[in-house]
């Protein structure tokens, strides 16, 4: 950042935390989808690959949930995470249309 960073407070926790909770989950799902398609995991729950993908969601999700408070504001959190979601879901759609 070029300017002096804005002071962070815990006052606006709700918009940030809700962004982390909801968009963090959808983002990690998109990540799971992309990685699953790329590595040809077929989603059968007993298969080793899909178990790994299932475990992957949780650290990503909790990581986002724990660090989403570092966004400047709630709007910022929803915007950035929303953008990341849009990108990853677009990648998922693209890969899926190529695979099938």
């Amino acid at each position: 950042m070029t300017t002096v960073p804005a002071m962070l407070t815990s006052r606006n926790w709700f918009p940030k935390a809700s962004a982390g909770l909801v968009l963090g989950l959808t983002l990690s799902c998109a990540l799971m989808g992309v990685l699953g398609l790329v590595s040809h995991v077929d989603g059968q729950p007993r298969a080793v690959g899909s178990q790994f993908l299932m475990w992957l969601i949780v650290p990503v999700w909790t990581g986002i949930l724990g660090t989403c408070f570092l966004f400047r504001s709630g709007w910022h959190a929803w915007g950035m995470l929303g953008l990341a979601n849009a990108v990853l879901w677009a990648v998922y759609m693209g890969v899926r249309s190529m695979v099938s």
Binding site: P45, W61, F69
Partner: protein
């Protein structure tokens, strides 16, 4: 390491609010989880002796099986051979369990009398140790299975946030304060140091617990999402096709005769040296073909379940058919997955690790208790600063809840264990549940009724007495000379632990970071 001070301040506030919301649930989860590390010994300890001849040896098993099957044909459907019978599984042949089991369920136990005649006893298992396990899984509430799981997941997510924020708060002063527990002049400071040090030194343990708990809570839902995202029509088609092929292949083996259990054990030992089998579980639910699952452990490897791993064995040839969950016979990827479970259950490295997990769990429980107490104390300090002489109502409520819930859980667990050997055979779960929550609520009532210092002392002394009564109630049911070593160890530990609780109750300044006069004059602090 330097972190901007506004970030640290923000995370300190997040940490204290998240902590206050989930701290008491986590206390119960960790305390009950520590007790659950000894679910099996406690299960054995709580089981009353049964009037059965001594367990049948493995060589005589075919005779026992034959006699049992001719007297009770329904036993064929589902039977288990126990290789090392204990007080809770007092015979080497167990049968008649319900198909799908949640926790211990009643079963028939068969043995041979001295004259070779069949003796069968139906026995209801003790539910006390399992109840404590469920309490652990549902963070101290009693809910339907699914609701409890999801609620636990929410608490586990908050716990993860509390860990991240707490770590970020501690890091800036890390080097300076690492080993510093400032004893003496300021008790609150000392409690804060203990809280941070416990958190920091057991951070890997807490990270594991937080992540695995979130997975345990939400894995069904995540798998559903995964299937929706990844399963494609042609893949399903291929899967069902291969399934059908396997069935027709299996059909040709229907008329063969299964090997004797002794032969199975020997063949498995040849294929998997070092694996110590514990039970052979036969089931006939898939048509006429018998399926065999052999459970056991291998001290050199961690096991997927809290009690051990298992392998699928062909009962007709003794050949290992599935080793996905067999310690030491997994692929690299499977053993990595297993390690996540192993690290949650502490099912590796034998008794030493087990005790280590107990200490880490109790340390974690104490950390949550200390965190809540620190919250109360710093709130109280702020209120005194504005000139109030007594607590506001919310501080008083939180203080009483902290003491009542934490020590109520301790007393409730001890009460459940103390009556466990005396309970009637049937309907145990309801009694145990009722008793636990009655004691728990009683303790919360006492915490609201008495002054906090007295409440802590009374509740700790109450828990100590309940814990000391455990060996007494065990002796009422099982005479001393017929007690097994593991049961005597439980008794011994109950006496020691009761003494620990009592010492804490007797000691002045028990269980609270007290505000002394002097601490007002020390420098400004934030918590």
């Amino acid at each position: 390491m330097k972190i901007r001070s506004d970030i640290v301040r923000m995370y300190r506030e997040i940490h204290s609010w998240v902590g206050i919301v989930c701290g008491l649930f986590l206390f119960v989860a960790f305390y009950a989880g520590s007790v659950t590390m000894f679910e099996r010994p406690l299960q054995d300890w709580a089981s009353a002796p049964v009037a059965l001849p001594p367990p049948v040896a493995l060589e005589k098993m075919p005779a026992l099986l034959e006699k049992t099957f001719s007297a009770h044909p329904e036993a064929r459907r589902n039977y288990t051979i126990v290789l090392h019978p204990t007080a809770s599984q007092p015979a080497s042949l167990v049968w008649g369990m319900p198909g799908r089991m949640h926790g211990p369920s009643s079963a028939n136990f068969s043995a041979l009398a001295a004259d070779g005649s069949l003796v069968t006893v139906r026995k209801e298992p003790s539910q006390a140790a399992y109840f404590i396990n469920v309490l652990h899984q549902q963070v101290g509430l009693s809910m339907p299975h699914k609701a409890g799981r999801l609620f636990m997941g929410v608490i586990a997510l908050l716990y993860a946030v509390a860990l991240i924020s707490g770590t970020l708060v501690v890091i800036p002063g890390l080097i300076k304060n690492l080993f510093a527990i400032r004893l003496g002049q300021n008790v609150k400071r000392m409690w804060l140091d203990m809280h941070s040090m416990l958190g920091l030194f057991s951070l890997p343990f807490h990270i594991i617990m937080a992540l695995t708990s979130v997975v345990f809570a939400f894995h069904d839902e995540i798998y559903m999402a995964e299937q929706a995202l990844l399963i494609q029509p042609q893949v399903q088609h291929v899967a069902s096709g291969s399934g059908r092929g396997q069935h027709s292949h299996n059909g040709s083996e229907d008329f063969r005769i299964p090997l004797d259990p002794g032969q199975i054990v020997r063949t498995v030992a040849l294929q998997a040296p070092g694996f110590i089998p514990e039970t052979l579980a036969y089931s006939n639910s898939h048509g006429s073909r018998l399926a065999l699952r052999i459970t056991g452990r291998d001290p050199r490897y961690g096991a997927r379940g809290a009690g051990g791993g298992f392998a699928g064995v062909d009962p007709y040839s003794g050949k290992l058919v599935s080793t996905e969950y067999m310690p030491g016979h997994q692929t690299w990827a499977q053993s990595v997955l297993t390690s996540f479970f192993v690290l949650h259950f502490g099912s590796f490295g034998g008794q030493g690790v087990r005790w280590g997990y107990v200490l880490l769990g109790l340390g974690g429980a104490f950390m949550f208790y200390a965190g809540n107490q620190l919250w109360v104390v710093s709130r109280r300090r702020r209120e005194r600063g504005t000139g109030r002489l007594d607590d506001t109502r919310s501080t008083r409520i939180l203080c009483a809840l902290t003491i009542g819930c934490s020590l109520g859980c301790v007393a409730g667990v001890s009460a459940v264990l103390c009556v466990a050997p005396l309970l009637p055979a049937s309907g145990q779960m309801t009694i145990v549940q009722g008793l636990y929550f009655a004691i728990f609520l009683l303790c919360i009532g006492i915490a609201f009724w008495l002054k906090e210092r007295e409440a802590i002392r009374v509740l700790l002394a109450f828990s100590a007495i309940l814990t000391w009564m455990m060996p007494l109630s065990a002796f009422v049911v099982t005479p001393f000379f017929s007690m097994q070593a593991s049961a005597l160890a439980v008794d011994g530990f109950a006496i020691l632990y009761g003494a620990f609780l009592m010492l804490w109750a007797v000691r002045p300044e028990a269980g609270q970071p007290v505000l002394r006069r002097k601490s007002f004059s020390s420098g400004p602090e934030r918590a």
